[in-house]
């Protein structure tokens, strides 16, 4: 097995709002190995985007990382002064964001925006050389007429092409880790397939590890090796993709899987839906945060937050935060 690239321990991120302090990321721990493709699944408000930004120290006030450690390549990067974190961002970690329309500076050319990332970490490179690299990157992400399109501005690119530019920016300095936050959600089905395909090829070629944040379980199934399910700021289930789709240790995972119509089989009848709506992080229930919506919730679920249960199912390790995880996997 490959060595550990990223290790996150007890990460906690809080936001101060008028309604009080709430934690978007609540003591999250996980490890990622070199070349691994990890999916983080969650709905809006589950804290998945805050987690991505917390890892690279990009949480902005009124948010703040209040606890936890992040280690990258065996070096602790959490708590480093921003000046040193800047050397990590864009060099060791590349980020890809959801909305390609909003992710590029509208008044700077595409070329300038790629070159900015290259020259930030390779100061010895001249403008010319950096531009040549930018053209190469654009070719690699399959932007047609890369050389001519370097001087164009974002509004002259389509959504799919902008997302390719984003990928080029993230890849510019050949990072060990890419964090992609909903990279295809804003794209059409056919474009989404192109972009995922491209991303898959690029990270496989370079043995880049990737954290793919999404709400789409289909994308996780196709793209990822392992998967973490996030609910109300915590990982409620962590396992491999194969295991997750075979049997779900957490009722939320199960409900999530069943509530989405499968594109590969015809079904009629009502969809098994999850009642209620995701909890507000400012007002979490006292026990298990999924208890109010859980069809199998018992007394204990409403009283006590479940601890992490470590299990092995068909020789695959499963970590779940449910009082009944063991029973659920056995049946």
């Amino acid at each position: 097995m490959d060595e550990v690239l990223l290790s996150v321990r007890g990460l906690r991120t809080e936001f101060v709002t008028r309604d009080g302090v709430f934690a978007a990321v609540r003591d999250v721990s996980f490890e990622l190995r070199r070349g691994e493709k990890l999916g983080i699944v969650g709905e809006s408000g589950s804290g998945k985007s805050a987690l991505a930004l917390s890892i690279v120290g990009l949480i902005e006030p009124p948010g703040r990382v209040v606890a936890g450690e992040v280690e990258l390549n065996g070096r602790r990067i959490s708590g480093l002064p921003d000046r040193q974190l800047q050397l990590v961002r864009g060099k060791e970690v590349g980020l890809i964001f959801q909305d390609p329309m909003a992710a590029l500076d509208p008044v700077k050319s595409i070329g300038d925006q790629i070159v900015e990332g290259i020259r930030r970490h390779r100061r010895h490179l001249g403008r010319r050389e950096a531009r040549r690299l930018a053209i190469e990157l654009l070719r690699e992400v399959q932007v047609p007429f890369a050389e001519r399109r370097l001087a164009d501005y974002p509004h002259q690119y389509s959504g799919g092409m902008r997302q390719r530019v984003m990928i080029a920016i993230a890849l510019a300095n050949e990072p060990d880790l890419i964090i992609a936050d909903e990279p295809t959600t804003a794209l059409d089905v056919t474009t989404q397939a192109q972009v995922l395909d491209l991303l898959d090829r690029l990270v496989s070629e370079r043995r880049t590890a990737i954290i793919l944040i999404t709400h789409n379980l289909g994308i996780v199934a196709e793209f990822c090796d392992s998967v973490h399910v996030m609910y109300a700021g915590r990982f409620v289930e962590r396992t491999t993709v194969e295991q997750l789709f075979r049997a779900q240790a957490h009722p939320y995972t199960e409900a999530l899987l069943r509530s989405v119509p499968r594109p590969d089989r015809l079904q009629r009848g009502p969809l098994p839906s999850i009642p209620g709506f995701p909890p507000s992080l400012a007002h979490l229930p006292p026990g298990c945060s999924f208890a109010p919506r859980c069809p199998a919730a018992q007394e204990i679920c409403r009283d006590r937050a479940p601890a992490t249960v470590e299990l092995v199912s068909e020789s695959t390790p499963v970590l779940a935060e449910c009082h009944f995880a063991r029973e659920r996997l056995r049946t």
Partner: protein, 334 residues
């Protein structure tokens, strides 16, 4: 003009062209957003309009309700040609056809209370006394599963799913026969989508509604619709019943769309070799031959596809396809 007695909505060769002027001296650009679309929707059925952004599905929906004026073609609602109606007659007919928009955050007036929002259509159409309207509002709110305690709240106090329920209540308070659903769940959280879909289906059964469902997500289209039309650049590429369309897709575009949908089952699709289309949806102005040709894995280099625009032809029971080589490209289906 013969008319299918069972069909509530009949669309014939509908066109909507937009003219874009870049300047007083440059040649005006004609965009064919809807380019000769025909279909019928039977009473009580759910008809799906599927396609990617820019395929003209939202423009088409608005043309159906005459929220925008079509350039050519006819929309016949319950035997009445909407194009021939005078404004007061159209207004009266509007009661029978309603629309639910995609974004429940933008489509509700933030200053109005829930009860006011739902009551407004009744008020506009001058229906009932104050008490009768209130009773109707309460009944409709109950129908969509919103508790009466929410009556005086404002939209911002509600979650996305609740807001979409309010938007549905507003559409249903007039007890319409046809409801156009323009991507009603795509702005909602995954765990909420199923709730709203189930609600829509219950309401259809209870009230005998006819739906035109605009959707980009094929899995949801397959789940929810009885018959579907796949749109590309303003025209129907394929039209069939859901089982026929998803079991035996004949148009290369339909196949590409289907194979692009990730399937929540590890390792499945990657092994099967998917069709990945090149390029992106172009802007259609004037064209020759098949409008899908520039991205088509089948017809890209075929002369016939470049020369002759394929017509929508019957290739199976109720299954019509606009392709010279239907069924040549097939994705494996379970």
């Amino acid at each position: 003009m013969s008319r299918d007695q069972a069909s509530l909505l009949q669309v014939e060769a509908l066109e909507k062209r937009f003219v874009i002027r870049r300047g007083p001296w440059s040649r005006p650009l004609v965009i064919r957003a809807v380019d000769g679309v025909s279909f019928q929707v039977a009473r009580g059925e759910t008809f799906g309009l599927v396609g990617e952004s820019g395929c003209g599905k939202s423009t088409l929906a608005r043309c159906l309700l005459r929220l925008i004026e079509p350039t050519a073609g006819r929309v016949i609602f319950d035997g009445v040609d909407l194009g021939r109606l005078r404004p007061p007659e159209m207004r009266a007919l509007r009661r029978r056809m309603q629309i639910v928009f995609q974004d429940p955050f933008a489509s509700l007036d933030p200053r109005m209370s829930i009860a006011q929002i739902v009551e407004e259509p009744l008020f506009v159409h001058g229906i009932g006394s104050r008490e009768e309207r209130q009773a109707q509002v309460d009944a409709t709110l109950e129908l969509v599963g919103i508790e009466a305690t929410y009556r005086d709240r404002r939209p911002h106090e509600l979650s996305g799913g609740q807001r979409q329920r309010i938007a549905i209540a507003r559409a249903l308070v007039l007890r319409p026969e046809l409801v156009v659903l323009d991507e009603p769940i795509s702005a909602l959280d995954v765990s909420i989508q199923a709730q709203v879909l189930n609600l829509l289906r219950d309401l259809q059964e209870q009230l005998g509604l006819t739906y035109v469902f605009i959707v980009h997500d094929l899995a949801i289209a397959e789940y929810f619709c009885d018959r579907l039309a796949v749109l590309y650049l303003g025209a129907v590429m394929e039209l069939a019943g859901r089982e026929e369309l998803f079991r035996r897709p004949l148009h290369p575009y339909t196949n590409a769309l289907l194979s692009g949908v990730p399937i929540p089952e590890p390792g499945r699709r990657r092994r099967q070799g998917r069709i990945i289309l090149e390029g992106e949806v172009p802007v259609l102005t004037d064209h020759r031959g098949c409008r899908f040709r520039s991205r088509c894995p089948v017809g890209k280099d075929r002369e016939r596809c470049a020369e002759v625009e394929p017509r929508l032809e019957e290739r199976g029971p109720g299954h019509r396809v606009a392709c010279h080589f239907p069924g040549e490209l097939v994705t494996a289906r379970p």
